[in-house]
Amino acid sequence: MSEEHKQYLKKQRIHKLVIRIIQIGILILIFGLWELSAYLEWSDPFITSSPSRVVKSIANLYTSGQLFTHLGATLWETVVSFLLSTVLGTAIAVILWWSETVRRVLEPYLIVLNSLPKVALGPLIIIWVGAGRTAIVTMALMICLIITVISALTGFMSVDEEKIQLMRSMGANKFQILSKLILPANIPNILSILKINVGLSWVGTIMGEYLVSREGIGYLLVYGSQVFKLDLVMASTLLLCVLATAMYLVVALAEKLISRFY
């Protein structure tokens, strides 16, 4: 290795380290100022809470045994709606790819459903499927499903026509074109849909929990604000940050693993 290259590598390492230090510094600064402002009573901790009160709030949830009930409920709903919307959405996209007639018939409906703010369906969902977990999962499903169908279908339709012609010239039937060309060609596309869906299923779940729930992070947020326990609201928000990021990282890791075999 040349001296110049060594210098280059060293520079890169230092640059990376500096960025990491600044990142952590910003975090410490934010929490520090937050704590300080509450301690020196620049702001009213009753309204703005403070890191120490948030920690206390989380500890209380833990000792009363509620922490994992709430986390578990929300996580379950998110994961179920995430998986359901991905599987269902891809399956529907396959059907739409398969039949041009079905695709053209359903096109305006897809556009309307995609434009509709799905939260508007909340009251209907509660009445139709009952006020419970099913309603929350349905809500999240509504939010993720249509966009999954549309993005997956776009990916399916953009496979090079010449590849399809090649397969047809070999005598391939439609199922073979689907299984040997369309689906494998779309694995990167489906993986990126997964990443979008992680975020959307969190939106859907929290939305659903706002509307109807007796447990979960969304419930804690609503309950906390109603009884004016801002410590609880802040604690829930922080927990949500951690969980959502963790789930995103899991999906990103899965993507990395799959694309290595791909």
Binding site: D160, K163, Q165, M167, S169, M170, K180, L181, P184, Y262
Partner: protein, 254 residues
């Protein structure tokens, strides 16, 4: 008997804006072992004609016979090599080459051995486990050709197979492909817009007119075929053919 016969083939495209006559009364014969190039002004319907030969589009009128049978029944006799190599990135070169047999559900030990043999013979043996993106443009084209050869077709249909390559690669791949096709004793129909390529590779050049395409002229190429296409371009009669074909393609369509 001719391996491929076109009898008065016409094609009319139907679209929302009306109908367009793409091919008009094309008759043509390709004998077994012959290398035929089809040239014509761009947009004249060369690729459409090839799609008809591959049985992908049915002509509006006329007949396409492969070994005396309608082309639809002769799927195993023909194989298509598309414009770009169209290798599947998620498959290794070896599995790409075996796509045809996999689709026809006749992938057995014998065919796998044949695929291996072809890959080794044409310099891709050590690349069989590699992904297409790890190969050079020329090697990819060779892999695409082996993919068409693996199903043991008698008639190869080449749709401007070099159009995506840079000039230098194009000339060497041209030599490669011509040699491989002659060595394997295949019959080939090549569609191209490159007149030099057509003259240097083939036994017969068919010149199509602009749309609606009909056969303008057919040239028997009498260049010395024992030398590679690139060298054939140096022969005396080469520019004579070139000028003549160039003129045909310029000629306004009556």
């Amino acid at each position: 008997m001719a391996l491929l016969e076109l009898k008065n083939v016409s094609l009319i495209y139907h679209s929302h804006d009306g109908e367009t006559e793409a091919l008009s009364d094309i008759s043509l014969e390709v004998a077994s072992g012959e290398f035929v190039a089809i040239v014509g002004p761009s947009g004249c319907g060369k690729t459409t004609l090839l799609s008809i030969l591959a049985g992908l589009i049915a002509p509006s009128d006329g007949e396409v016979l492969v070994k005396g049978r309608p082309v639809g029944e002769a799927r195993n006799v023909t194989a298509l090599m598309p414009q770009r190599d169209q290798l599947f990135e998620w498959r290794s070169i070896y599995r790409n080459v075996l796509l045809g047999p996999e689709i026809k559900r006749n992938k057995d030990k014998e065919i796998c051995a044949y695929a291996d043999e072809l890959l080794t013979k044409y310099g891709l043996g050590e690349f069989r486990k590699k992904r297409p993106s790890e190969l050079s443009g020329g090697m990819r084209q060779r892999a695409a050709l082996i993919r068409t050869l693996v199903t043991k077709p008698e008639l190869l249909l080449l749709d401007e197979p070099f159009s995506a390559l840079d000039f230098q690669t194009r000339l060497t791949v041209c030599d490669d492909v011509e040699r491989i096709i002659r060595e394997e004793g295949k019959t080939a129909v090549l569609v191209t817009h490159d007149i030099s390529e057509a003259i240097s590779m083939s036994d017969k050049v068919v010149v199509l007119s602009s749309r609606p395409a009909c056969v303008e002229k057919i040239y028997d190429i009498t260049l010395d075929k024992s030398i590679p296409p690139l060298k054939r371009r140096e022969q005396k009669s080469f520019p004579v053919y070139f000028r003549s074909i160039w003129k045909d393609m310029e000629a306004p369509n009556e």
